[in-house]
């Protein structure tokens, strides 16, 4: 290679020393060595933890000593000097290869950028985005209009046919129930997936993809970071949390981008507890859209719990908040084709994930009902439902909610359309379901990323907590005789 960065003389001397060691046998310590010795030397000088671990103890001492003598000869930290030399090299090349004859052209983006990042203008923008994007488009159009149409179509065109055909084809009523009637695979499982969840998720993903590609989300993170810091929350955790508004499972994977274990834990916990994912948002918006007071209470409660939980865990967990650093991509006009492809891919992914689960759920419920286990569980949950001030018809929904929040929410939707719930009851069940873990997939991801112990701890906190919040909420609503 023709180029070589020259570092400060003491650093260069240290590199040469390590290269000599390398040739005398250190190289053998590393199983994988596809980088040059010079590169390894630089990494070791900066105490790369992975490579450090692979060195035997006596060599670690030699290296420690070398680093100490090198550091003694220069005033600033070694890694800073190294970074500085590289930066200068990069800047020098940029200057000779890049020309900017007309710097004014960037400015329109710059202005919008400032508006979105400054809390004074940023919050109104966020409110507008939430109102038009989430409330109007996802809530009213997706969860209202579209769900109504597809549901009506199912109830009028498909379910009667399915019921009729199964009754003709299968002589045993108990086997008929597997496919048709109240809890059948087709009449319940597939109906939930296609008529309730699909339109909600489709509209939400469309909106989310638009926001994502425009470059708004990182700016939202940046603006929220300033707010979160004020109440003691670690700023960087904002990134996966904003993504969690799309899908908590995916966001749990993204917590990996956080630097410290502590931050990863906080983010994972907040995602599991208080961040509703696309499917929940939509269904809950659809549920509460006709009752603005309940909707506002729901939002206020969830935000409150989110902030409080974040605040407590921040105080409770040892360690300090890490520095927040986010790469800000430019604001772009999203390309419609990209947005559509992305929405399509996510929808397809989600649908194929959900459909078999919903079908399984119907099958399991069928087995449970046949064997009496279902009724036994329901009768166990009924007192809980009653304690929350909910009618006993919601017991099965809470049971589903344990497995998937969206399945439970869809069930709630079903009940509400039958006019069986009051505003208070809707609010309580919406809050409880939001606080539950969203789905088994997320639980799997928590186990994978954070380990079984953490997952068990989180779950054994989250479920009782969700129910307790529901209980207190019901008690409060009764006490002040509020009906929403």
């Amino acid at each position: 290679m023709s180029i070589k960065i020259r570092y400060l003389a003491p650093i260069e001397a240290a590199i040469t020393q390590i290269e000599i060691w390398w040739r005398s046998g250190w190289g053998q310590d590393f199983v994988d060595r596809h980088l040059s010795p010079r590169s390894f030397a630089l990494l070791l000088l900066q105490k790369d933890p992975n490579l450090w671990e692979q060195l035997p103890g006596n060599r670690q001492q030699d290296l420690e000593q070398l680093i100490a003598t090198t550091q003694a000869q220069i005033s600033r930290p070694i890694s800073l000097e190294i970074a500085q030399a590289r930066q200068e090299f990069a800047q020098a090349i940029e200057q000779t290869t890049l020309a900017e004859p007309n710097p004014n052209q960037r400015h329109w983006g710059e202005k919008i950028h400032k508006l979105t990042v400054n809390p004074i203008s940023g919050f109104p923008i966020l409110v507008l985005v939430l109102y038009w994007g989430v409330y109007k488009f996802v809530g009213e159009f997706g969860a209202g209009e579209l769900v109504d149409r597809i549901e009506t179509f199912f109830e009028e065109q498909i379910n009667p046919v399915v019921n009729h055909v199964t009754e003709q084809a299968i002589p045993w009523p108990s086997l008929q129930d597997l496919f048709a009637h109240e809890y059948g695979i087709i009449t319940l499982g597939i109906r939930y997936a296609t008529a309730i969840v699909l339109p909600v998720v489709a509209t939400y993903f469309l909106m989310f993809s638009l926001l994502e590609d425009s470059g708004y989300l990182p700016r939202l993170s940046l603006m929220l970071d300033r707010l979160f810091k004020a109440i003691g929350l670690s700023g960087r955790a904002v990134i996966p949390i904003v993504l969690g508004l799309g899908c908590d499972t995916m966001a749990t994977i993204v917590t990996r981008t956080l630097e410290t274990k502590r931050e990863r834990l906080i983010a994972t916990f907040l995602l599991s507890l208080a961040i509703p994912c696309a499917a929940q948002w939509g269904v809950i918006l659809g549920l509460l859209a006709q009752r603005p007071a309940a909707l506002v209470t729901w939002a206020g409660l969830i935000v409150g719990i989110f902030l409080l939980a974040g605040f407590c865990i921040d105080k409770f967990l040892p360690g300090s908040a890490a520095q927040f650093y986010i790469e800000l991509p430019p604001l772009r006009l999203p390309k419609i084709r990209n947005v559509i492809t992305k929405t399509w891919v996510r929808m397809k992914w989600y649908f194929w994930e959900v459909l078999p689960l919903f079908i399984w759920a119907s099958a399991i419920i069928w087995v449970g009902r046949l064997t009496g286990v279902f009724d036994w569980l329901i009768s166990g949950i009924e007192p809980i439902a009653l304690a929350l001030g909910l009618p006993k018809e919601t017991a099965p929904i809470l049971l589903y909610g344990f497995f998937r929040r969206d399945y439970g929410a869809a069930g709630l939707f079903d009940l509400q359309q039958g006019g069986q719930l009051t505003g208070d009851q809707l609010l309580i069940s919406a809050v409880v379901l939001t606080l539950f873990l969203p789905c088994i997939a997320q639980l799997q991801m928590i186990i994978k990323e954070r380990g079984v112990k953490t997952a068990v701890l989180m779950v054994s906190f989250i479920f009782p907590f969700a129910l307790a919040v529901g209980y207190v909420l019901n008690w409060g609503l009764n006490l002040f005789q509020i009906s929403l």
Binding site: I5, A99, P218, I239, V254, T257
Partner: protein
């Protein structure tokens, strides 16, 4: 779309189930990849368009977004160069060879542990100065680097021009100017990759005493 089978037979897909957010990473590609053949890696800082480029090269859809840190796992696909199929790996973004977060480590460890016929360093043309320090580190490591200056369309809209020849002269490696999202420069990159692989048919090995 063989991933759909994953959704139906849960048991057999094992670890792949957990990667479901990157849905079609296991796409079948037409010409078979030569076993033991060279590999290509796409590396670069977050949000420079590695996944878009991966998509353009391999026709495999990876979730792409204008949000840093969306790729947290390695995705493999195949690119057709002339009549041969070569394995390509999309990596999570990294700022430097010295990893800070876990996702950066994924990319770095890959570079250390596997051998590559070519490493495409994807840069954002609008932030050349900030990105070239990673190029410097890759060159320092004597990796077979090809520099892909991406997002040229946006740079042009900003009124920026980039002197490709000067970059080639300074860095001593092939440089391709491109806008992967608009499919511009992708063919030139293929050519550069084919040339590179032809010249390094023996995988580059770091000189070890």
């Amino acid at each position: 779309m063989d991933c759909h089978q994953c959704h139906q037979n849960h048991g057999s897909c094992g670890s792949k189930r957990s990667l479901r957010w990157l849905p079609f990473s296991e796409n079948l590609t037409r010409p078979p990849i030569e076993p033991g053949g060279p590999q290509i890696a796409l590396v670069g800082m977050p949000n420079v368009g590695k996944s878009v480029l991966f998509h353009a090269l391999t026709d495999t859809y990876v979730t792409v977004s204008n949000y840093p840190g969306t790729t947290v796992e390695v995705t493999r696909g195949a690119v057709t160069l002339g009549d041969r199929a070569v394995s390509v790996i999309d990596t999570p973004g990294m700022y430097s060879l010295l990893p800070i977060s876990e996702e950066e480590r994924v990319a770095r460890d890959l570079l250390i542990s596997e051998s590559f016929g070519a490493i495409v360093h994807v840069l954002d043309a609008k932030n050349l100065g900030r990105m070239l320090s990673l190029t410097a580190q890759l060159l320092e490591a004597e990796l077979p680097v090809i520099v892909a200056v991406n997002m040229m369309d946006e740079a042009q809209r900003w009124g920026l021009t980039i002197d490709r020849e000067a970059l080639v002269a300074k860095l001593g490696v092939p440089v391709v100017l491109m806008a992967a999202a608009r499919n511009r420069g992708v063919d030139q990159l293929r050519e550069a990759l084919a040339d590179r692989l032809a010249s390094t048919s023996v995988p580059a090995v770091a000189a070890v005493g």
